[in-house]
């Protein structure tokens, strides 16, 4: 898959400027299910924002509401200052949506369906641009093929091509790598990065924590229709991440010596491993003093390893904590 070239839009990228503003958004379905509860969220121009949440948390409802597919019950959404209800034409023309399901026509050609999407979004025909999109997504040699003949991965890329056909400034990717193989997944990540580099703001939902960890600039966690956390990814991992140092002892211990109680060490069942958990946010981790104290007490170790909690650990602890 090729990289999207930086375009003139990159020149106007202002990373900290808000492009989507969501205020007090709620959605209650006719069944009585409250899918979204008083959501307040700002998406910054040019960022990759990952929305994480378990099944049924409200991710797709949130995206569908911003895109105009679901009607909000309460609250407002503005896309680059355009209200999605009162100024829907301007708001929607800025947005491209790649749905979770592989929903495509079957008998249209690749070229026809991407051209249709461009026209549907009110853009004049531009065969040159459609060609560029298809080439960037490695679909050019399939342009005359009927959609039904494409593989799942190609259909996924076709949906992205359709969403990009009208040159949107905001791209929603709802579970973009669900059900795709590892290679294609890596290609997708590369594609998303290059899209961001070309000035497109990306909002993606995913079940794959490593996907968010790999790509996102900021993370939002949604659970039971509520945004429970929005944080810069690095900050989030810094704030909530824990680091552990495990010492493999030369001689097993029966118990942790009382002199080391302040370190809150954990001794493995066989007494052969001593684990120290510390806060990555803290400037002083006391590792050096711990090692000195161990040396003083005559406790020797043959090996040492450190681990850091992943975004997945953080996510699970956040959602479980609700």
């Amino acid at each position: 898959m090729q990289h999207f070239e930086d375009t003139k839009t990159r020149a106007i990228v202002r990373p900290m400027q808000t492009i989507i503003t969501i205020k007090n958004l709620s959605k209650t379905y006719a069944s009585g299910l409250q899918a979204l509860k008083h959501i307040n969220l700002d998406i910054r121009r040019g960022e990759i924002f990952a929305l994480l949440g378990p099944n049924g948390a409200g991710k797709t409802t949130l995206i569908s509401t911003i895109c105009g597919i679901v009607r909000p019950s309460e609250g407002s959404i503005c896309v680059d200052g355009h209200d999605i209800i009162t100024d829907y034409r301007a708001a929607r023309s800025m947005i491209g949506l790649v749905p979770q399901e592989l929903t495509t026509d079957a008998f249209e050609s690749v070229w026809a369906t991407v051209s249709f999407s461009r026209g549907l979004f009110g853009k004049r025909p531009d065969p040159g641009y459609i060609e560029k999109v298809l080439r960037d997504l490695s679909l050019w040699d399939k342009k005359d093929n009927r959609i039904i003949t494409l593989s799942g991965g190609m259909k996924r890329r076709l949906l992205i091509a359709k969403a990009l056909s009208h040159e949107p400034q905001v791209l929603f990717l709802d579970e973009p790598t669900a059900g795709v193989d590892v290679n294609l997944r890596r290609d997708m990540w590369q594609l998303v990065r290059s899209l961001r580099n070309s000035g497109v703001t990306i909002i993606l939902t995913t079940h794959y924590i490593d996907e968010a960890e790999e790509m996102a600039d900021r993370i939002g966690v949604i659970s039971n229709g509520e945004i429970i956390l929005v944080e810069d990814k690095v900050e989030l991992m810094h704030k909530l991440g824990k680091k552990q140092m495990t010492l493999l002892l030369k001689q097993p211990l029966d118990r942790v010596p009382p002199e080391l109680n302040d370190y809150r060490l954990e001794l493995s069942a066989d007494g052969g491993e001593l684990t120290y958990t510390y806060d990555t946010q803290s400037e002083r981790t006391d590792i050096v003093t711990l090692l000195d104290d161990l040396n003083t007490l005559g406790i020797r170790f043959k090996d040492l390893q450190t681990t850091q909690s992943s975004l997945e650990d953080i996510f699970v602890s956040l959602v479980r904590g609700r």
Binding site: I69, R71, T103, A112, F116
Partner: protein, 253 residues
Amino acid sequence: MNLYSIRAIYHFEMARTWRTLLQSIVSPVISTSLYFVVFGSAIGSRISEIDGISYGAFIVPGLVMLSLLTQSISNASFGIYFPKFTGTIYELLSAPISYLEIVVSYIGAAATKSILLGLIILVTASVFVPLRIDHPGWMFVFLVLTAVTFSLFGFIIGIWADNFEKLQFVPMLIVTPLTFLGGSFYSIDMLPPFWRTLTLFNPVLYLVSGFRWSFYGTADVSIGISLGVTALFLAVFVVIVALIFKTGYRLKN
């Protein structure tokens, strides 16, 4: 008005017609030809003239109207139902396009297809019977009005339907019988008084009658009433479509 969007949907819908030429055009033309063979030649030769018109020629407006009604409904209902069925409706709902533009695009395409078909059937009919059109302008007005009106009806059915059975229900079990019983193949003067009175409650009678008047200058009911009933249908369907979009019925949650 978002003309690029309208054009995109219109072309997309028309493209399906050319892709499915057998189903869209050839099949109705063959069916109509069979009607002429059976009713026009085999049975029609034993039926005397009606209002001075040979039976074969008399049934032409009714046959065109039968195809026009069923095909307008079928084209429009399928056009909007299929994206709902496949899930591609998300693209339509998220596009910067107004409800009016959506309706104009889908109805325009559905009506175009059924008008083309109606004209093809007329040409086919002229092969079998001597055809006369006294009021070509009015004929075209009825053709367009009926196609647009029943395309709107089909659009409503396509939105209402949540399975293929419902999609077929109204055209097969309501519209086709009403068309057969609405004077397509006979003048209501040929019926006993009770059935004649009952037929006056069949709305399709007024469409067929007005259309036939534009051909031969004779009608079961006056041209004014026929036009009025057609306009009434149009108004009712426009109001229902407006309500559907206002409430998001079966389109938006």
